[in-house]
């Protein structure tokens, strides 16, 4: 039974520090071995979860949502009003998107998403978070120097654009709706989706590139 005893957890962390191997692979292997022998986890189910997030659940989903919002004003309206319901139409509702919120880039606004306290991320729609999203350098600086952070990503934000940083401190998760690039009037949803980068949906990319085949 969980006792919610923080002092005890501090003691456990210290003990584990001495007792567990130092390399992450061995630590996780130990955890899987213990849980499996205890009958608390099924390694084949883990396999399936890895495959699900390796091959099926990833930023392509978010890109589809964005492309559909560009292409279908009714969907966009529903997405901005109630994102969980809208992505549910596409079968993308799931882990960490029960309180999804979409924030829209415009000519005068740029949005950037961070979680300074842990590394909250809308899994079911963007898959696993990129490594940079979880490091202290990004988490600490996104709220203090967002323009400097964007510069490191090669994104120059002119002074007349307002930067809005969304720090995911509650159970809401944020998806940035990037601007539709010019010259894509005749692109279908698939071609549009190909233009949408993962970073543009977090806000560390802004001006999407248009390629002949719509491959961004």
């Amino acid at each position: 039974m969980t006792n919610y005893d923080a002092q005890e957890v501090v003691r456990i962390h210290q003990e584990l520090r001495e007792r567990l191997p130092r390399d992450p692979a061995s630590r996780v292997e130990a955890l899987e071995k213990i849980l499996t022998e205890k009958g608390l986890v099924d390694p084949q189910s883990i396999d399936a979860w890895v495959e699900a997030y390796q091959d099926h659940i990833g930023p392509k989903r978010g890109a589809h949502v964005v492309a559909k919002a560009w292409n279908d004003t009714g969907f966009k309206r529903r997405l901005m009003a109630d994102a969980p319901a809208a992505i549910d139409e596409l079968g993308y509702l799931g882990r960490a998107t029960g309180h999804l919120k979409v924030v829209e880039n415009t000519t005068t606004v740029h949005n950037l998403v961070v979680c300074t306290l842990c590394s909250c991320y809308p899994f079911s729609i963007l898959g696993m978070a990129p490594a940079w999203y979880k490091v202290a350098a990004y988490r600490s600086r996104a709220v203090r120097d967002p323009r400097g952070v964007l510069e490191e990503f090669g994104v120059e934000i002119s002074n007349d654009i307002e930067v809005r940083v969304w720090d995911s401190t509650a159970e809401l998760r944020y998806l940035v709706l990037p601007q539709r690039p010019d010259g894509t009037e005749h692109f279908d949803e698939d071609a549009l989706a190909n233009l949408v980068t993962r970073n543009s949906m977090i806000g560390t990319d802004r001006d999407l590139k248009v390629t002949a085949l719509g491959e961004g």
């Binding site: 955890l31 213990i34 849980l35 099924d42 203090r144």
Partner: protein, 221 residues
């Protein structure tokens, strides 16, 4: 708590490795840890307790160990605190396991099961409660100056700062108490702060930072 996890505005971490690649999993163990976190049986606990246990990792480890490794560390800690596995079992990496009463492990899931079932994992943390929200859109507020000794979701960089209500989100589970195993609900707001009010070097900035904050973190300005 004022811990190493509370990173907003902390300085000195250097550049971001923006090109760190090979997602979704950089190494095999990352996938294993992620998968375990999704499908292992766990003692009854709240997400906020789990987060607090992650915050309680020693700062030097918190800042130096990979993200999903800190999940494994947190899983170990929550299982051990709940008495489901012992420190000795952790120590011997499985060779000393004693199973008292086998638990009812659900059948193996396939990728198809996962994809079909995913929408049921869109956890909703809100609840309709009778009380009326204290604040309304556009209203000026000031955040609490003080932290709390345990888990909280009011980061240090927005304590004692003037902001305004951007939107009302309804009532959500209150994390400070949820981390102690007590489920209560409180009005939640999107609150907007001017960067200029947060940092000494950004007084000319017109940029904004938005946080989702619970009612008891706020008072009328």
């Amino acid at each position: 708590m004022d811990g190493a996890h509370d990173l907003g505005g902390q300085q000195g971490f250097g550049p971001i490795e923006v090109d760190s690649v090979s997602e979704p999993f950089n190494e095999e163990w990352e996938g294993r840890e992620w998968g375990m976190a999704q499908c292992a049986l766990t003692p009854e606990l709240t997400i906020d307790w789990w987060r607090h246990c992650r915050e309680l990792i020693l700062p030097e480890d918190y800042l130096t160990r990979p993200y999903l490794d800190s999940w494994a560390q947190t899983d170990f800690a929550t299982y051990i605190e709940a008495g489901w596995i012992s420190l000795e079992e952790a120590d011997h990496r499985g060779s000393l396991i004693e199973v008292d009463e086998p638990l009812d492990l659900p059948p193996t899931v396939s990728v198809e099961d996962i994809l079909k079932d995913e929408r049921n994992h869109a956890v909703r943390y809100h609840k309709v409660v009778e009380s009326k929200p204290l604040f309304s859109e556009g209203q000026n507020i000031v955040t609490n100056k003080e932290g709390v000794a345990g888990h909280t979701r009011l980061p240090r960089y927005v304590r004692g700062i003037k902001g305004a209500i951007n939107a009302y989100h309804g009532t959500h589970v209150f994390p400070d108490l949820s981390a102690q195993g007590k489920t209560t609900h409180q009005h939640l707001y999107s609150v907007v702060f001017a960067c200029a009010d947060l940092w000494p070097e950004t007084h000319n900035s017109k940029d904004k930072v938005f946080l989702d904050l619970w009612e008891s973190y706020l008072t009328e300005a």
